[in-house]
Symmetry: C2
């Protein structure tokens, strides 16, 4: 038995119970707000116990299906989305996921999924149209004597869930580094309009809030002790393609600095999660940059390295997403990192007001991009959800520069990332400024649609697909239809159809 | 000859000349920043003189085409866009237009058009990628003794154009009401990142700037006197369709107030321009509302009436767009309106920070909407530009509620405004919350794509098209493709193709 050393509040010590007991407290049909952002800080025990319970209940003859609605910060892990999706225990999921089992449910039509801009979720919950939140299930790193909470490796929507829920279940995870304490900045100045005030943050390093989450002990119905690590996937070493993409971006940054259009410390960087963004960070770290800042969602391995080397002086985010090596590095050197990393709730880390004011450089991946710069970040072949838009819209729309990156082909060359018309739009032509593939970089700023098509085909498309793209564009241009955004409607989505029929675009 | 009573600055009195003389000062290839927003406050004489000059120059044998790039606030009028487009004098146009001749040039491929969010244009000009602005051509209501300018019936991007241009041509329009003086609020706290500060505006009534535009007299190369009215189109009286749309919106507002999800003074209203938005304003005026506010781009007739009746207590915008009757009413009662209307530059009237903070209720038109809530506001049949996205994206993305309105059919029933897949996306599924046609209102908040399809088909589609939409949706659902966003790629755009071939969707 644990010594409860992370649960200092006497009242809450009384509520310690097993994950199975806590799972019993979650009723069918409940709206449950769970912690978790990019595989960090999600509850690790109760969802599994709940899945067990659901499996058992649903196996009874004539059982009415037991399902809940799951709202999180962003993606979680097999221990949450995976186990609950496997037992078909999720009726509706929002606002982001990346779990393979969950994804299958969404795409076979057995789970409703609402894909929202991550900055907006807490406002939606407050505004009331999502319905009442019944239970918040939140992982924390510790409970202080006064009942306030030491947040875990992500904050996400936890502040809002704790405030909105009728009842709260806490998981106290002793595996989270105790020295996380003090790294968080929870802003309590939020409100619904007409009562909103300016958010007085002008630098990614600014602290505007509290180190702890306030939590009324009387709402806490269970405290569960855990000692399990966050999901942490190893990063692949940068491949040739990623390195080339990073190279094009660095060349672009250097040119902009030379032209006086970016300061030599750049502007606060936002970087999506994955191997390519990590390669870009590595590239930045190898370059001449010093004293950069990050205002982003997620701290990846690459940012730790940049902090270590002095390339980066501060990183603001809402979560970690580290590899096993990254976690080791962070745990071993937490005293170094403590004052250089600030974790905020996601309605602040991704806030449009702040992304615009700070002038964030937004770098995110894409699934496909079309001739005119419309970007699809979410849907495979227009119908199947991959993960979700996440924070990419928050940063791309309101940031200073929006950069979207992708290899020029996928599936061993069967799919072109540059298509005549995207099969779904997440970022419109108005919001997409720079496209980068290993082939090169298309700077779409100040260009009309026809001019953009030339840039994208010539600079970004894979040579194997370039002739077909030129052919489509030329025929569209001379089709007698509008020449502002030339298209052949009867062929616009034919590349996707061809892929579905033949496995090759 | 005029008594120059509106030009009090002695130095600038020396620069008074004819429109023809001023037009001679604009060189071929120049980037010219002109005033003008929704047919208000645009220069009325120099563009016409320039068009004359271009026509004459281009008629000479072997003439190298004389063209300029025209940047404005938003739409202007025949005297600007019309005359310059007619002589093929515009190489590139940004960020918005609504002129028929200009539109034809854009769609026949003889004019490049860059369609931008109106809040972002001034930032783009400052950032440098649009190139150097050579000349600013700005209508004002007067020049003060110290050389500062009394803005006209719109501000738009004038502050930025004056700051950015090497040389400035002023048109002083004595037809503009002299009592406009004092109604403007020009904010000089803007900056490029990393030097941006919070914008301390928390109420549409707040004044945060200056009443006048600063203008270095040494940059002014010409002053031209005019006395011509703004473009002003009569409003049609509300028809049945508009009244029904307004009715659905009012019913929705009332329900939201009842549920405690909107205050009884609503939240600041943004309303697009046109007959339907005007009908909604009329509906609000006839309802029980008092002390509403508007934080919008444009003051239409409907807002004057609401100010008069006390339904509206204050309106913040960047321009007027009044009918002849509206102008008469405004001129006759300007002392009443003076302290209830504030005109700001468009980077403030449409600022994401402010739209989010104030929690704007954004109401804008649409060309078409698809089953899943993606909205096309700009492109006819996917290829032909209508006007542009304007400020709709600024408000819909960052506001509190985004409402898109349209009759359910167009062209006497040949076109359905609800289609399987839109042929262009300006507002993605993530940003579209409410769709309204005369048939009814679809509340898409908190719904998955499949749930949205039911709402939109059942509540918004015209009964003539409903069966075909249901048929498409059902077949897409059972096509074996992804069921998150069901589509039949081979048919998704077939409604548009059918219309192009047969004149009927």
């Amino acid at each position: 038995m644990s010594d409860h050393s992370r649960i200092l509040c006497p009242v809450l010590q009384q509520r310690i119970m097993s994950a199975e007991q806590a799972a019993e407290l979650i009723p069918a049909g409940a709206n449950v707000g769970m912690s978790g952002f990019t595989g960090a800080g999600y509850p690790k025990a109760v969802p599994g116990a709940l899945a067990q319970r659901i499996r058992q209940l649903n196996s009874q003859p004539n059982a009415k299906p037991f399902r809940i609605n799951v709202w999180t910060g962003a993606s979680t892990a097999p221990e949450l989305d995976g186990v609950l999706a496997e037992v078909d225990g999720i009726e509706m999921r929002l606002p982001f996921q990346s779990d393979p089992i969950c994804r299958n449910r969404i795409n076979d039509g057995t789970m409703d999924y609402v894909d929202y801009h991550l900055s907006e979720v807490s406002q939606y919950a407050w505004s009331g149209f999502l319905g009442k939140m019944d239970i918040a299930l939140i992982e924390v790193a510790g409970i202080r004597e006064d009942g306030s909470l030491i947040p875990s490796s992500s904050i996400g929507n936890n502040k809002t869930w704790i405030e909105q829920a009728d009842k709260i279940i806490l998981e106290v995870n002793s595996r989270q580094n105790a020295k996380l304490e003090g790294m968080h900045d929870v802003y309590y100045g939020t409100a619904l309009p007409p009562n909103r005030k300016p958010i007085m943050l002008t630098d990614p390093a600014d602290r505007i809030g509290e180190q702890y989450l306030a939590c009324p002990p009387e709402k806490v119905i269970a405290v569960v002790e855990t000692a399990a690590p966050d999901r942490n996937s190893p990063f692949k070493p940068s491949d040739e393609v990623s390195k080339k993409i990073a190279g094009h971006i660095l060349e672009f940054f250097n040119k902009e600095i030379e032209l006086g259009r970016l300061p030599k410390e750049l502007l606060p960087i936002q970087s999506g999660v994955g191997n390519i963004p990590n390669a870009v960070l590595e590239g930045l770290d190898a370059g001449p940059y010093k004293n950069l800042t990050a205002f982003t969602e997620v701290i990846q391995d690459g940012m730790l390295k940049m902090l270590k080397s002095g390339t980066l002086k501060v990183a603001s985010a809402t979560a970690f997403s580290l590899s096993p090596d990254g976690i080791q590095e962070f745990d071993d050197n937490i005293d170094f990192y403590r004052d250089k990393i600030i974790l905020r709730q996601q309605d602040i880390s991704n806030h449009p007001e702040l992304a615009r004011r700070l002038g964030v450089i937004a770098m995110n991946g894409l699934i496909e991009c079309d001739l005119y710069g419309n970007v699809n970040s979410t849907h495979i072949m227009g119908t199947r959800m991959m993960n979700g838009i996440g924070g990419s819209g928050d940063f791309a729309r309101n940031g200073y520069l929006s950069i979207f990156v992708s290899p020029s082909t996928a599936k061993d060359g069967a799919i072109s990332a540059i298509v005549p018309m995207v099969s779904h739009v997440d970022h419109t032509e108005h919001d997409v400024k720079i496209i980068v593939t290993e082939q090169g970089l298309a700077d779409l700023r100040g260009l009309s649609p026809r001019q953009r098509a030339h840039e994208i085909i010539n600079n970004c498309a894979h040579p194997d697909f370039r002739p077909a793209l030129i052919d489509y564009y030329e025929r569209a241009l001379h089709s007698g239809r509008g020449m502002h955004t030339p298209h052949l409607l009867e062929e616009a989505l034919s590349w996707h159809q061809r892929y579905e029929q033949s496995g090759q675009m």
